[in-house]
Amino acid sequence: MIEVRNLRKNYGKLEALKGISFSIDEGEFYGLLGPNGAGKTTTISIISSILVPDGGEVSINGKNIYTHSRESKQIIGVVPQEIALYSDFSAMENLIFWGGLYGVPDNELKRRAKELLQMVGLSDRANDKVSSYSGGMKRRINIAAALLHRPKVLFMDEPTVGIDPQSRNLIFEVLEKLHHNGMTIIYTTHYMEEAERFCDRIGIIDHGQIIAQGKLDELRNDNGAKDAIAITLNHADERQISALQTFWPDSKMADMNLYFYSQDVKTDLPLIIRKCSEAETDIRSIEIQKTNLETIFLNLTGRQLRD
């Protein structure tokens, strides 16, 4: 359904995108993961045809989005990272305005707005000014505003940033419902647990490049599918770290954390602790990290996703 080929974008001397390619099937939930500044929003902006790339192509349903811009925009819904709503308007007024821009007839618009307000759990606050809403409630309306024209594709750019658990759960319910109804969703986030929970496939983006993509299991297998024994040290010199890494070659140092990768934590953990003790390191804490996207990202880049 969506085909992105060799997308490039520069901001002055900065290469924001360095030839990104991926494809998304109809009804798929695709997660675009990466730290801040990786190029996620630039990618979304180009695919939603408000930003012109310096190179590459994007097509939706086989049609180039630049030669069929209006048509493409009509089938795309975008939930921006910012809460892009008019705070002096009520939720209902906001929904009617944003839906109206897509040519939804007035009577139909009101019906859909009511439906969506119910879906995001804000029917009882429909006529209150958005400025009186909590951050989470605004986020929910922000999502609803992108759904009034019933888009086939929904781009969601970090839709759960800075919200309360209740709103987060409500948004998750909405996401599940939309996915269940067959909507194609591209979801950018740096919350691994969200990607793990919803995404059929995941693309990991860093420094303007997709460094890995596939289903979660595929990503795990491609990366050895090992759990990590994370040991945080209060102090360690190069000699001590070198001794430990020689003892356990499948390990990595990041900040003051030493990651020992293991397929059998139960057996390997006592061995590693004993070796740390022999090397006279000062251990602050030990954490077992099951293989997840965070670990995969760390394996791929040597950095934490939220750095």
Binding site: I50, E82, I83, F89, W98
Partner: protein, 426 residues
Amino acid sequence: MIKIAIKDLMQFFKQKRTMLLTFLLPIVLITLFAFAFGGIGGGSGDSRISLQISDLDQTQTSKKAAVLFDSLKGLEIKPTELSIAQDNIKKGKESFVLIFKKGFADSVNAGYNPPLELQYDEAKETEVGLLQQSLIPTIAMMPFSLGDPKTTMANRFNNMAGTKDNTERAIIKERSDKLFDDLSAAMSRSNSSGGSAADFLGGNIKMTKLIAANNDNELGLIQAVAGTAVMMLLFSVVGIGSGLLDEKQEGTLKRLLYAPINPLNILFGKMISANVISILQLLVMFVFAALCFGLSLTEHLPGTLITIAATAFACSAFGVFLASFAKTRQQVQGLSTMVVLVMSAIGGSMMPLFFMPALMQKAAVLSVNYWSIQSFYDVFWRNLSITDPSFLKKIVVLVFIGLILNALAVIMFRKNILKLSRGNFF
């Protein structure tokens, strides 16, 4: 485009503080300026110049002269003894005393200028100037007004000739009397309302104010309303135009760009809403002036509406242009305050143009204020019809200014706003 314009209007009317600043503040300022420029209460007795008169001659003629001055509009005559009058001036209670000196009647009867003296407080020289304007025509014609015009005319001719010879003086008088009678007869024949040579001599000089004739409006009031309205409108439209930058900052501009609309429609919608609000603001101000200060709005409705529409078009284009030109709201605020104040100062919003030096009056044509205020003068003061070329020229200039600024706004919007909304996404 219409949806965006309606949205902008809804936003405007939901913001009570903006509404107050748009409508209430200009009304307060109009009221203040209307008082300052004398448009309000201009016809009441309070504004008459107080003139003490000390009659040292105490004759029938001097008393008739006092009555003559008393009949002058704009003067409040106070017969006062000279010493008291002088004391009043020294104490600051009064500004002048006009003294009818002894021999006043004799001079008038002999055809000479009457012996008058005006004593005044030097600190009140501006008032002295105004007083002189009121008194000079009356004083100049006093010999004809107070004495027998026929005799006065003959005496004047004899005085001009300077002869002491009685025969010569008699001849001059005879010829002068004949001239007076011929003039009176001729004027009676040609003028159905009647007349005499005395009228010709200026006893009743008719002074016609060409523009003020049949004018129900006070010049000061028109200046106050038009000048303040345009200046306040410029401030308001900058705020409306700046909404574009708010949209950029709050992310709604980007969301608008996601929609299947032409990006320029966002700007055009803003232009429409700015025009509607501008027209409303001007209408409110003129209706207020009509209701509270008696500005004759209904008699000049077509011209007023055309000028309001043209002014709103030019001013709203100015606001949208500034917002497109600047990159942040802070820039707009700083820039607009400076530009609006300069335009208002040179354009005649803050004070009437005739107070300014010639160079400044020439520079006035560079401001929107000038063309708008002059159009309002055409409508309310000069009573020009809406088809008058002089009026139409000003309207065309306002529309032209609007078109140019709107075109520049489109260019700047593409260059600044769209570019900014598209940058820094990652």
